[in-house]
């Protein structure tokens, strides 16, 4: 078991190293998301109180929709030859998926951390309950990353993967999106965001189980 976790860590480290070299997630997707945050007020009007209210919601929507680009980059990074290498190394599907999920979660947290100051600067949202954000962001990132590896292995080697992946991910990511936005709103209305945080944790655990139990089914190489 311990050896498997070490393999998992090796895959995550390799994935992150690849990202550092290619720089796709943070150097391309993050500015793209920031541009979207800049565009929305031009489309809906520059009404300051309205934007203040929209801010947190926009932040999480952009994180979800553009995060899909970060999530699905795994399948473009790995060639069939590399997938065969992992299969012949006897790496169980679940371990490979968890390794990739760890790397994606780290990237999503970084993506969120880059976007947060942009939203604060452009939208000036209420900052009540910001300490909760520090736990909500990793929770959402882990959930999206796990959902992402499941969807990614479902569409792997399919021609339509770049469009089908987001269609599979986004509707199922709704609990995460609601948990994130509502915990912010709960704090703004003086209620406790704890139930929403628990919702995010529950979703994370369910997806973790899905990866663990379905990993060997999705581990197709040829």
């Amino acid at each position: 078991m311990r050896e498997q976790w070490r393999t998992c860590a090796a895959i995550a480290g390799n994935s992150l190293r690849l990202e550092r070299r290619a720089g796709e997630a943070l150097l391309v997707v993050a500015p793209f998301g920031a541009v979207a945050l800049l565009l929305i007020p031009m489309a809906v009007g520059t009404d300051v109180p309205l934007l203040r209210r929209l801010g947190p919601g926009m932040y999480w929507t952009v994180l979800l929709l553009f995060g899909v680009l970060v999530i699905l980059r795994q399948s473009s990074l790995q060639s069939p030859a590399q997938a065969r290498l992992l299969a012949l190394a006897g790496v169980p599907g679940a371990i490979a998926m968890l390794g990739n999920a760890v790397a994606t979660a780290v990237l999503l947290v970084a993506f969120g951390a880059v976007l947060a100051p942009v939203v604060i600067m452009l939208y000036d949202p209420g900052m009540q309950g910001w300490p909760w954000f520090l736990t909500v962001l990793p929770g959402v990132a882990i959930g999206l990353a796990l959902l992402g590896v499941v969807a990614d292995s479902l569409v792997r080697w399919l021609d339509a993967r770049s469009t089908l992946g987001p269609l599979l991910i986004v509707p199922l990511a709704i609990p995460l999106l609601l948990g994130a936005t509502q915990s912010w709103q709960a704090a703004a209305f003086g209620a406790s965001p704890l139930p929403w945080l628990l919702l995010i944790v529950t979703v994370d655990l369910i997806l973790f189980l899905a990866v663990l139990l379905a990993g060997h089914l999705l581990d197709v190489v040829t």
Partner: protein, 214 residues
């Protein structure tokens, strides 16, 4: 090591191999030749437990291919395809160390393997900055990290200079001396006949013996 009897394999619903028989004993090295599209690569992938046969009985290292193959058996198979399993953005050393990590070997073993194939001084170059021959050598070095029981080489001679061609012979002898077996697909009959015990030709999805050039 390999025991195929009447095996049929489909790839993307197209039949590629049909009623194929092959037995490979421990210490045996077999060369495979065949026309383009005759199914040589599919045969190697089948031997690497990556296909499920649609007909016949197929066993590799004692495991039946019609059900899941245990991970520890897969680990003792090394497949070097004609497409290198290396990440273009990483250096040769990083690639080999990653392979060592997933195989449960030390980082030292990766560095030694690179030295053996003559890439010790180029180890910190990224794969995309390397020539085709260097990439080939690095891909072959994977087989040196943890010596496999079953070595499967797809066109190992393509793109290699003669000194690196000796490397293929060295790898095969290494595996043979440890009681392993190897299957080599190559169009380079001259080099192939130097290392193998027999040559088979893949015709009509089946294997037929070929007279040795020696």
């Amino acid at each position: 090591m390999i025991d195929f009897a009447g095996v049929g394999v489909h790839v993307h619903r197209t039949p590629v191999l049909r009623a194929l028989d092959l037995t490979l004993e421990s210490g045996e090295v077999t060369g495979i030749i065949g026309a383009n599209g005759s199914g040589k690569t599919t045969l190697l992938q089948l031997a690497a437990t990556l296909h499920r046969p649609v007909a016949g009985a197929a066993r590799v290292l004692g495991a039946d291919l019609s059900s899941a193959v245990p991970a520890h058996l897969r680990r003792s198979i090394c497949l070097v395809g004609h497409e290198a399993a290396l990440y273009p953005h990483l250096t040769l050393r990083e690639n080999l160390r990653f392979v060592a990590a997933v195989l449960g070997q030390t980082q030292q073993s990766a560095d030694t393997a690179l030295d053996t194939v003559g890439l010790g001084r180029a180890a910190d170059r990224r794969v995309r900055q390397c020539s085709q021959g260097m990439v080939r050598r690095a891909d072959l070095a994977r087989a040196l990290i943890a010596p496999p029981k079953l070595l499967l080489l797809d066109e190992p001679h393509a793109g290699l200079d003669s000194s690196a061609g000796d490397l293929v012979d060295f790898l095969v002898d290494e595996v043979r001396s440890r009681g392993g077996a190897a299957v080599i697909v190559s169009h380079d009959r001259a080099r192939l006949d130097l290392v193998v015990d027999r040559v088979l030709e893949l015709v009509d999805g089946q294997l037929v013996p070929v007279r040795s050039l020696r």
